[in-house]
């Protein structure tokens, strides 16, 4: 088994080839475009490109507030975003890559409409690195800097709609060699790479900011699985794909690799003149035809046990806009009656051992569909499973397109070569993310945290929050305690997680999506008040308790009695009263003192005064 990963992560700030922001919303206008497959560098049309052409779709682009003529493909790219380039260099350094002498960008032809230009601009920054894992080093083949594609809004009736908001966002792609041993190892490797990604200051941190592609092979050709959205899905997706390929291997074995001959498509629309199936009724009313075809020897292979041949065929149909491919393993279903099924089987000439597929589509579509289905069956029987697949949100995979070849790359001539000198690399050394071990020892040495605390901050993804608060607020141990103990404890008590607004009320307003916190002396937050009022730890914790557990609004906290610490004078007065009563010692003074007042106080001061005032025996 061979597994490789491609991890993509977005950077925030400006886009890669223009100064538009990475953040934006819809502007209301849109425009329609088509894409034409053109020659690759060596004069051949790429396989994947040709396939898209079959689909012959048109594209509607929704203009966003963060787009300009570059995203509309109405202007050549501007010079590369230098911060993004530096980030790519830094991450290449962290992953032990060789940095290329020049950044040179290529046009990677992509004509599914996700790029207005019809290509994605991409360039290699680093090559040949490695990352350490428990099962040995996993080699990094390349680190590329590229522009993200449009965000897909919808796809129907041969028209895909995209938003320009995501187009051009800087994207760093980290590709590993197929050194990964199994699905668990894949997850570990992805996490290890993810650590470096997430420690970059300008990592975008949105829902879809990290995307993983998984390259997988178990001897039947390389499958590239696109868009595994969550780390935890890597394992599920791989497990699914292993199961799928095993099942196809068995099916192929049954036919000794020889493809069963797909029967002719026979128009059976007439059967359904009085059908009770509303789906078929609607389709026929809209001018579509219902046709069926026999698949010899495929009974109980379409959808039975682990076999899913029906889905393999339906994926192909779906890609050319045919949503309705049904098959005999599913029947009875879709409101079809027994006599209708009999007529279908009769028309197709079904024998016991055969399967029948039923397709609802426009008449001309059948001519496009048929060769694709035959090709698909042939591929499966020959166990040539190499292709590009998409990861589904449910942890499965589905057919997307043939693998793209090198023919789809040619030079982006609108962007001059950018030299990356040794000096340049030296100058951005501070940006290079540290390994987990380095960070841990830094937290222990510089901030005097315990190893356990350091580890927890890293594992709970709160490291950057911690660092940015400490930078402003100081008191690392207090901050660590609030993040790791106080807040989780109160969340548990009230049985509700902090909302982003509440988080901002306590820690300071997040400048941009949870990454860095604005200065606490200018923005109202509990930490901000604590800093201004020089609260001690217990006052601060009491404030958080009032806010989280007693629903006292932030605006009232500052004037709250409990949070106005007792002055030394007032403490002295309380202790004076206390010492006159019996059984008082250093052991119980704090507990007794707390009973006497609702207000905050500094326990150290209480002890100090108690020592002064305690009976001298």
């Amino acid at each position: 088994m061979k597994i490789g990963l491609e991890i993509h992560f977005q950077l925030k700030g400006n886009k890669l080839f223009c100064s538009c922001s990475t953040e934006g919303t819809e502007s209301g206008s849109s425009f329609r475009r088509k894409l034409t497959p053109v020659m690759g560098e060596m004069g051949k049309v790429d396989n994947a490109v040709e396939y898209e052409n079959i689909r012959n779709r048109e594209f509607l682009y929704h203009v966003s507030t963060n787009s300009c003529l570059v995203e509309k493909d109405e202007e050549p790219p501007h010079p590369v975003n230098i911060e993004a380039l530096n980030t790519a260099i830094a991450i290449s350094e962290a992953l032990n890559c060789k940095i290329l002498d020049y950044a040179s960008f290529m046009r990677k032809i992509v004509i599914d409409g996700s790029n207005t230009s019809g290509f994605q601009r991409t360039g290699i920054i680093g090559m040949d690195g490695y990352i350490e894992t428990s099962k040995g080093p996993v080699r990094i083949s390349t680190i590329t800097l590229e522009e993200d594609a449009c965000r897909k809004i919808s796809e129907k009736h041969g028209r895909a709609e995209y938003s320009l908001d995501r187009l051009g966002i800087p994207l760093i792609e980290i590709s590993t060699e197929p050194d990964i041993a199994d699905p668990d190892h894949a997850l570990e490797t992805a996490k290890a790479i993810g650590h470096f990604v997430m420690s970059m200051n300008n990592f975008r941190r949105e829902v879809d900011s990290i995307r993983q592609d998984v390259n997988f092979s178990m001897g039947f050709g390389r499958v590239e699985i696109k868009g595994v959205s969550k780390l935890s899905f890597i394992k599920d997706t791989l497990d699914y794909e292993i199961k799928r390929q095993k099942a196809l291997n068995e099916i192929s074995g049954k036919f000794s690799g020889r493809s069963p001959e797909l029967g002719k498509f026979i128009d059976i629309s007439d059967i359904f003149t009085n059908t009770g199936s509303s789906m078929i009724k609607k389709a026929i009313a809209s001018g579509k035809s219902v046709m069926c075809a026999r698949l010899p020897g495929c009974n109980h292979l379409m959808k039975y046990g682990n076999y899913r041949l029906g889905r393999e065929l339906a994926d192909v149909a779906k890609n050319i806009g045919i949503g309705g491919l049904m098959h005999s393993d599913e029947f009875p279903a879709y409101g079809l009656m027994d006599d209708e099924l009999n007529k279908i089987y009769q028309s197709a000439g079904k024998m016991d051992n055969d399967a029948v597929i039923v397709v609802i589509a426009d008449k001309p579509s059948f001519q496009i569909l048929r060769p694709l289905l035959i090709e698909r069956m042939d591929k499966i029987m020959k166990l040539d499973l190499a292709e590009t697949r998409a990861a589904t949100p449910s942890g499965e995979t589905r057919y997307l397109r043939p693998l793209a070849g090198k023919e789809r790359m040619y030079p982006e001539t609108d962007i001059p070569l950018i030299q990356i000198t040794e000096d340049h690399i030296e100058n951005i050394k501070d940006m290079v993310p540290k390994s987990i071990d380095e960070i841990k020892s830094e937290l222990v040495e510089k901030y005097k945290l315990s190893y356990v605390e350091a580890e927890s901050l890293i594992n709970t993804n709160m490291l950057s929050t911690f660092l940015s608060i400490v930078k402003d607020f100081n008191y690392p141990s207090t901050v660590s305690r609030i993040l790791l103990q106080i807040i989780p404890e109160f969340e548990k008590k009230r049985d509700k997680k902090l909302t982003p607004d509440e988080k901002a009320d306590i820690l300071g307003v997040a400048l941009s999506q949870g990454n860095s916190y604005s200065r606490n002396d200018t923005v109202i937050s509990i930490l901000g008040i604590a800093k201004r009022k020089h609260w001690d730890r217990s006052t601060l914790e009491m404030a958080i308790s009032l806010y989280m557990l007693d629903n006292i609004p932030l605006s009232e906290l500052e004037t709250r009695q409990e949070l106005i610490p007792l002055t030394e004078e007032e403490i002295r007065k309380v202790i004076t009263e206390l010492v006159s009563s019996a059984d008082i010692s250093e052991k119980n003074i704090i507990v007794l003192f707390r009973k006497k007042t609702v207000r905050a106080f500094d326990p150290k001061v209480v002890i100090k005064i108690f020592r002064e005032l305690k009976p001298s025996n």
Binding site: R33, V38, K108, S117, Y410, T413
Partner: protein
């Protein structure tokens, strides 16, 4: 190493295999198996092995030396972005010799009889009056065989070439359509394909004028046909860079059908080509503080000078004095740098002084059109320069046609 040759090489201690693409002395570019080109310093690059497998791919497409046949549409290619692709030696965009591969990618044109003749291979900034004569003669030859004419041309100076042919053809039997593209045809998003589709349809109209056929909009929805003498490139890079100044497009093409939008001259029975151009004409853009000697140097020894004046058609009093000095040898014509609107030299005293000095106002004629028109008149009717410059010969003055 030869382009396309497979090589093993080492870089910073690691060995790779790739395909040699180019070297510039200081740098070497190779294509990796993944399709990526990487560019390295020559001194960090060591060739370990050059493969001699005789399998070097020939990416030189052979040019088809065809000539136009009869009664179809003749596409004359002159270069420009529409006929450009990437030169892998230098990485620059360069004209290609053969555009026949475009035909596979253009929709709705199967019913047309298309011919292709390559007449030039140049970037449009290098076009001059001599080239206009060549283009015109080629167009005449094609029309003589009963063909409509489409000229693929760089967009930068397309309006000049279209104007030149508009004037040189006093009568024409078929449409002459210029077309080009703002995105080169090596890109999937190129506007070339739709522009060509539109121009082929426009070329089939019953029409006897010269037009420019380019995207109406940023979308791939329609193509507009602009009168050669009124068209202007108004954007450096966008698809809809061309518009007709002060009038509607002549026609619009969308989804296989043409809608005619404004007056177009019917085709003539005969072809009358006046293929003499006298390029002793200057075009001077006046600006505040323009030095008198600079104006003098630009205007000196010209038979005609087109001035792009400010606002309604003004220049400084200093420049006016130079005009007065040169006025005996040189005819001066006034257009406006406002692009839109008429010049009117009766409103302010400067204008009246210019009129008195013999400067001739050209109403709303575009300066670039006026430049080419003066060349045509000087070449063919030198004695009637002042009179003909004011006349509306090919729709270059917008109002009579409405």
């Amino acid at each position: 190493m030869l382009i396309g040759q497979k090589v093993d090489f080492s870089y910073k201690g690691t060995e790779y295999t790739g395909t040699f693409i180019s070297s510039s002395g200081e740098t070497i570019t190779v294509k990796l198996g993944s399709g990526y080109n990487i560019t390295l310093n020559s001194d960090s690059f060591k060739v370990l092995r050059e493969y001699d497998d005789g399998n070097i791919e020939d990416n030189q497409r052979t040019a088809t030396a065809s000539e136009c046949g009869n009664n179809g549409t003749c596409i004359l290619t002159t270069g420009g972005t529409i006929g450009s692709s990437v030169d892998y030696k230098t990485g620059a965009v360069k004209p290609v010799k053969d555009i026949s591969y475009l035909y596979n990618f253009v929709n709705n044109i199967s019913q047309f009889k298309l011919y292709h003749e390559n007449i030039e291979n140049m970037l449009s900034e290098n076009v001059d009056s001599g080239k206009w004569v060549t283009f015109a003669r080629k167009a005449r030859d094609a029309m003589k065989k009963g063909n409509s004419v489409i000229i693929f041309h760089g967009t930068d100076t397309m309006q000049y070439s279209a104007s030149a042919l508009s004037f040189m053809f006093e009568e024409q039997t078929k449409p002459i359509i210029f077309t080009g593209s703002q995105r080169s045809s090596d890109r999937p998003s190129s506007d070339a394909f739709l522009n060509i589709e539109g121009s082929i349809h426009f070329a089939s109209m019953e029409m006897g004028e010269v037009g420019i056929s380019m995207h109406t909009d940023t979308a791939d929805d329609s193509v507009s046909l602009y009168r050669g003498t009124r068209a202007r490139k108004m954007h450096t890079s966008s698809r809809n860079a061309f518009i007709s100044i002060g009038e509607h497009a002549m026609a619009r093409y969308s989804n296989g059908t043409i809608s005619e939008e404004t007056y177009m001259k019917k085709p003539s029975e005969n072809i009358v080509l006046k293929d003499k151009l006298d390029d002793s004409v200057g075009l001077i853009y006046f600006y505040p503080g323009m030095k008198e000697e600079d104006f003098y140097n630009l205007a000196y020894n010209k038979k005609a000078v087109i001035i792009m004046g400010t606002g309604l058609g003004h220049v400084s009093s200093g420049v006016l004095n130079i005009i007065k000095k040169l006025e005996k040898e040189t005819s001066f014509f006034m257009t406006s740098q406002c692009i839109y609107g008429n010049v009117n030299m009766n409103v302010y005293s400067t204008g009246r002084d210019l009129l008195q000095a013999g400067v001739i106002p050209l109403d709303n004629m575009l300066a670039e059109t006026a430049l080419v028109k003066a060349m045509y008149i000087l070449g063919n009717y030198p004695d009637s320069l002042d009179k003909l410059m004011r006349a509306n010969l090919r729709g270059e003055i917008e109002d009579i046609l409405k």
